[in-house]
Amino acid sequence: MIIAVGGGKGGTGKTVIAVNLAVYLANRNHKVALVDLDVDNPCTYTLLKADLRIVSHVYSFKPKIIEDKCSLCGKCVENCPLHALVLIPGKKLLFIETLCEGCGNCIIVCPQQAIVEGRSLLGKIMAGEYNNLKLVVGELKPGERKSDEVIDATLNYVLKVFNNYDYIILDIPPGTGRGVYQAFKPADLIVAVTEPTMLGLHDLIKLSKLIYSMKKKWIAVINKYGLPGGIYSKLKAFLEDKGVKYLLVPYDLNLVKAYMNGKTVIMEYPETESSKAIINLGEKIEKGEF
């Protein structure tokens, strides 16, 4: 079963829920892989203190110009939709890497075969273990923009290597864009983690639109339940109106403390309220209630 833990807004507790859920399921002797797809800033491994090794690098296509063969005809320049190729007539063909999205039109149109497949480093895929839990982490190289391609490569790796696992838990980046869409694609169940603020609700509504357009099964977790001034009735009304099952994870300083110290709350404070709620979520998933 592939479970994607998303939420739209940043900081609702996606990583905390994903990590604790994965640790719970692994403790119950299931074969579990936790996959960090928040490639801009993956932080599952700071909570698990797993030693990671690089299992693969992620490259992106970029054209490589063979100057000896180039006749400076300008066909590639005409067909480059992002103007990443510039011709100084009679002199030189320039390639501006930051503008290139890697469509490969230049290779197709070059009559001299003067442009060939090249590549640039985008990021890396790392793997490690925390007790019997497997951890896979995708990480974007700072300064690179193509987060989505690193997400894709990490997912492909996971689906190939861990396809016989009982549970694959995906920690999804914030947002509702292409990266999140890609990450939701293989999921059997989406767990949307939200918080009782207008901002949390607003982003949850937006995320639900994406989930419905993809026809995915989903449940919600209202994290930080009990925060003073929270907007519980609106949030519950939205979920009940949609017929979506939800669980409450109480606002709990022990959870904050564990998180701030880089630890998992269910291991540090197994008896605290938030741990009980996350364990309850795990039990329901084990029983196939969703």
């Binding site: 469509c103 300064g143 509702t176 864009g177 357009s213 001034g229």
Partner: protein
């Protein structure tokens, strides 16, 4: 000249929108003409933190290109599928089908199609608008449709609109609330800014994001300062952050439930609790930022 200040964090949920909404409100209330830009187009919340949009002053749709296939011409040869580097074309029952969510509209497929069956169409990807909030501050914000790409380009468009408006109407400062992360929309948010404020909370996870963001700021040659939010949640780790960033730390803000309450009531903390501890700490940080920018 209009100054541009961007608030970002690397990691989500550290308090970017909290800081940027209060900063824009603060500037406006003390007579500096400010305008705010919500560059988190995948999850835009800045206007909500300022009380919601009261009136939309201007609105524009944001289009992208995708390809479309003329099946009366298509011979099902599959050349298009083979050259697409975005997995946006798949053969179904002997004919290629476009995945509109993945298509970038660059048209490698059109270049190789032997029967010229592929052409381009515009598709709405989102919209940008300018709205007024109840606290008297205008917000430029965008909303990218779910599942869409090109948020970097949308951010660029949004910032261009805000800059033009600032020039026309004489705003002193543009406050940009960035998306989380360090990817495309974040680089778009930072590029061209005069100053970057990195919001960090005292956790390893957040510090790591902040360091990655600082790396980008250095690559882009953007001056960057750090505000440590919720610093009292882990005082030991705050010391680690202090060692890491040294003089680049321009302020620290303590954690308090009234911050959440202000969010829930969709009112800047500075307005709701003008004398609270986090308010005063925040104002102190803002004044230092203004000092740095010499527009006090």
């Amino acid at each position: 000249m209009t100054l541009e200040l961007v608030v970002a964090s690397g990691k989500g949920g550290t308090g970017k929108t909290f800081i940027s909404s209060n900063l824009a409100f603060y500037l406006n209330s003390k007579g500096t003409k400010a305008i705010a830009v919500d560059a988190d187009v995948e999850a835009p919340d800045l206007a909500l933190a300022l009380g919601g949009i009261k009136e939309i002053k201007w609105e524009e749709k944001f289009y992208g290109k995708i390809v479309t296939i003329d099946y009366s011409r298509c011979i099902g040869c599959g050349s298009c599928v083979a050259v697409c580097r975005f997995n946006a074309l798949n053969m179904e029952n002997g004919k290629p089908v476009v995945d509109e969510d993945l298509c970038e509209g660059f048209g490698a497929c059109a270049l190789v199609c032997p029967v010229k069956a592929i052409s381009f169409i515009d598709i709405e990807r989102g919209y940008i608008y300018r709205g007024t909030t109840p606290v008297g501050l205008d917000v430029f914000t965008g909303d990218l449709h779910v599942g869409e790409k090109n948020s970097g380009l949308l951010v660029y468009n949004l910032k261009t609109m805000a800059r033009e408006a600032a020039y026309r109407e004489g705003f002193d400062i543009i406050v940009v609330d960035s998306a989380a992360g360090i990817g495309c929309p974040v680089i778009s948010s930072i590029s061209g800014a005069d100053l970057l404020i990195i919001v960090v909370e005292p956790s390893k996870q957040s510090l790591k994001g902040a360091l990655r963001l600082m790396d980008i700021a250095d690559q882009l040659n953007t001056e960057a300062y750090v505000i440590v939010n919720k610093y009292d949640l882990n005082v030991n780790f705050y010391e680690t952050i202090r060692r890491e960033f040294g003089e680049r730390i321009i302020g620290k803000i303590s954690y308090n439930d009234i911050v959440v309450e202000a969010y829930a009531r969709m009112t800047p903390l500075l307005k709701l609790y003008p004398d609270s501890k986090p308010t005063l700490e925040m104002i102190d940080a803002f004044n230092k930022i203004l000092e740095e920018m010499r527009i006090r």
